[in-house]
């Protein structure tokens, strides 16, 4: 097992190097650079910017250098100093910017993930064990709705209802007066008052998928001989279901948990934009549209690292949960 993990880690290094190069190239692919989109956005707002000024700025940022030089500078900073570069549009070190929004992003993602699972697993098990019962139909219907409704649309609807019929203050995770306030009990309460909207929307969407997976997998397992054997040995219904087939049916959760790691950061970008949640997602999107290459590049790189690490984690988890899987 240890040898397997070490081997996997060794493979990760070249993978990440390749990813970093590809990331950098992709960011440079669209025509223009940060300054051309900066100038364009200024002009669209009716401001003036001189061509000469742009030329000087381009030189200062080193945007006129060949792409491999720019890449070298970026990677050197990361490897030697842990310096991810400077965001051109936000005028702050990339590292600080990413950390600044990390907590809220994680809270949102973890809470919605857990709420989603908490609902999906019991309902999925119920649906499978009571296949074609009225409740199964209802659950199935709702879960298809969940899969079919885009989160941003739901976000808009919920926001409208919350504001117009419930008189709540919406948009963002805090009320106006708590945004800059230091953490306190009142602020936590305020956060919870706002958090339920995105969490329930994300959970509604997330639950649907998990529920369908659990149901389908469990249905496959329920007819297998080992279940019959367990019943034959006189175990209670509850014990049979939860101890054996459910555990097997949950494998997909563990094998996809690795992807959730990247989702902690970039998950629910669209919903965040619509609901005005200041999480990492909208910042990533802005960085990409502004062609703020160090910020965008570092984001994409970080996401890739998370995915690679997450995949490893989920492989290990899977082996631990399911003794039938052998690592060699």
């Amino acid at each position: 097992m240890l040898g397997y993990v070490l081997r996997r880690i060794a493979i990760m290094i070249p993978t990440l190097i390749v990813i970093s190069i590809i990331t950098f190239i992709i960011i440079q692919l669209p025509p223009g650079d940060f300054l051309s989109s900066y100038a364009a956005s200024l002009r669209a707002q009716g401001e003036v910017i001189d061509e000469a000024e742009i030329r000087v700025m381009r030189e200062r940022y080193g945007l006129n250098q060949p792409i491999y030089v720019q890449y070298g500078k970026w990677i050197k900073g990361i490897v030697t100093r842990g310096d991810w570069g400077q965001s051109m549009s936000l005028q702050r070190p990339v590292k600080d910017l990413i950390w600044q929004r990390m907590t809220l992003s994680m809270v949102l993602s973890v809470v919605s993930l857990l709420v989603g699972w908490f609902i999906a697993i019991p309902l999925g098990v119920y649906s499978a064990t009571h296949q074609y019962s009225p409740l199964d139909y209802i659950v199935t219907f709702i879960s298809f709705m969940g899969i079919g409704t885009p989160s941003f649309l739901l976000g808009l609807v919920v926001m409208f209802v919350a504001m117009n019929y419930m008189g709540l203050n919406v948009g963002g995770l805090f009320s106006d007066q708590f945004i800059l306030a230091p953490w306190s009990w009142a602020k936590v309460v305020d956060l919870l008052k706002h958090l339920w909207i995105p969490v329930s929307i994300l959970a509604f969407n997330g639950t649907a998928g998990g529920l369908r997976t659990t149901r389908a997998n469990l249905l496959d397992e329920l007819n297998k001989p080992y279940v019959e054997t367990a019943y034959a040995k006189g175990l209670t219904e509850r014990r049979v279901i939860w101890k054996y087939p459910v555990r097997v049916a949950l494998n997909p959760f563990f094998s996809t948990v690795g992807w959730e790691l990247a989702n902690l950061i970039s998950g629910a970008t669209l919903l965040s934009i619509v609901l005005n949640l200041q999480t990492e997602g909208p910042m990533l999107l802005n960085a990409l549209t502004a062609q703020d290459m160090y910020l965008a590049g570092s984001f994409l790189f970080l996401l890739s690292v998370m995915t690679v690490v997450g995949t490893l984690l989920s492989d290990i988890l899977l082996a631990w949960v399911d003794p039938r899987i052998r690592m060699t």
Binding site: S36, G46, M163
Partner: protein, 674 residues
Amino acid sequence: MESKRKFTRREFLKISAFTAAGALAACTPPAPTASPEAPTAAPAVPASATPPPAAAGPAYQEPPMLADLVEQGKLPPVLERLPENPWVAPVFESNGKSGGIVRRAFTGPGDKWGMSKICDRALVWFDNDLVMQPRMCESWEVNDDGTEWTFHLRKGTKWSDGVEHTSKDVLWWYEHEATNETLFPGLTEGRWFTGTGETKKMMEVTAPDDYTFTFKYAEPKPLLIYTMGRQGVAAPAHYMKQWIPDTADDPDKLAAAVTAAGFESWDKYYIDNRRFWFWNPDLPHFGGWIAKNDLNEEKWVIERNPYFFGVDSDGMQLPYLDGMHSRLFSDGQVFNLWLTNGEIDFQARRVQVGDYTLLKENEASGDYKVVVCPAARHMVVVLNQASKNEQLRSFFMNRDVRIALSLALNRKGINELNYLGLGTPRQYSPLTMSPQYHEKLSNAYIEYNPRKANEMLDAAGYAAKDADGFRKYSDAEDAETIFFVMEGQFGAGTPDEDAGQQIVKMFKAVGVKCEYKFVETTLYNQHYTSNDMDAAFWFADRTVVPLGAEGLIFRGIASDRPFVDAYNKFFDDPENPIAIEPPQDHYIRKIRDLWEQVLVTGNPDKQNELFAQMLDIWAEELPMIGVVGELPALTVVKNGLKNFGPSPNDDTTGDEYVLNPETLFWENPAEHMG
């Protein structure tokens, strides 16, 4: 829909007359009273035009928020904080009460310009008649040919950290920042030099005493004053010197600070970060409010500057408002929810004209008013008369063609259908209230007359049509059908995109085949940069004081409206790969000649006269085809917020802040303490 209230320059004048009178009367500081705390500190009528004896000192009042600090000994008394002869701000309605905050919203650091326009204060500003007046400076003089500008500072003006501002700050800025080759290689900032290429020469700055300084240019610089409104000409030497290795007491400390902030070198840190108050909240400046936190946070807060150099005519130190907040939003729908819910107190920036109905419907429940301000924005059809495509070029260069296409437009229909009737059918021209208003140009060929348009196109030699009924370049058998693409950055679903489609229909109705195409910004830029653009449907602004904006668009210098861009490029550099030499009798030559004359005239009346001649040419030639103009900027103003009224809205005049935001006040400040 309620009828639209339009403001002509005359009416605007009338409104401002009252305020101006107040301001004039207040030019002398109020007479002294025994105690600065006395509630009756300000006299009802200023006694005379002569200043009161200096020994007694004028009486000024200060906002409660600051009075407390003075009492605690944390702040010097108001008299010591103000200049000897403070700026007396004109007010739109009346003098007001101090206190309270205003809530706004912004889309992030890229959208810092709203607050920037509220806080950037420099030597002069427009009065309500859009004429430049002293603001931070006491007065200025310019010699006849506009080569020498002398400014007199108000004695005792303080930076926001309380240090006195003198002409030494101007000299320091000139020596260490403006002429610093590391910071500004090759003179990029146009305001500070004259000439181009070989003749390019930096101005010289001298300061005979602490409160006077002179800018001396090698050649005339007559429009300089218009660039002195927001951008300063001084750096707080006592603070900024630590950020330049040559002047820093401890260069090692500077190097460490640069690295810690994540910058590669001191010059990048200085130029991109340290010299802007919004990136560097520690930077002393002159604005009414100073930044309290980092603008990368979810709420950006500015708070009153206790050393602000202005007062109202009663001697109350401005600004009235304690502060402003800007809350971050990423999606327009959230912004609209905040607006309609009354959570935004004062904002025009980012409010969309298309949301007029929505905003009006919720006026009562949100407890606000939508003030319709005339804005500089015009929608224009740009025909590239210097196109690479020779056939198309000669088609567009034909004056009758441009006039015919102008007559083919049903502007009233477009205005009603796409702009809720809020715009005005007119050519691209200075606003009605502008000092450069030009009636003939505004109304040139704006009537809807497709029959005449057809006749003119027939007479212009484009009578032959193809099988589909579209005009061809000539009547030759194998002549191609005329076709061009109007590019625009307005995406599907926007009223502007819809207007673009309407225009296409109207052009097609007179037999001219074209299409509107949405192109993404970067591509749009690429197309005009390489002169690969046939035509564009875009906006054009800078019409409030176009002279002050150097007539950029009227001269075709703003290349994103490329009606003669390749010609202008020819004059700048004939070797430029996209440059095309214009014909000898082309109107752009006359426009350029007139502008050359403007540039050597120090006399504002003569400048206006020459500019009017440029607009005469516009009225004859129609270089761009205006569709609707004076498109309003909707300003959402919470009920109870005073001293704001319909005022022209343009970047060059500070958007919705042309009427000094320092004078905004709440009727009941206690209800708006945040």
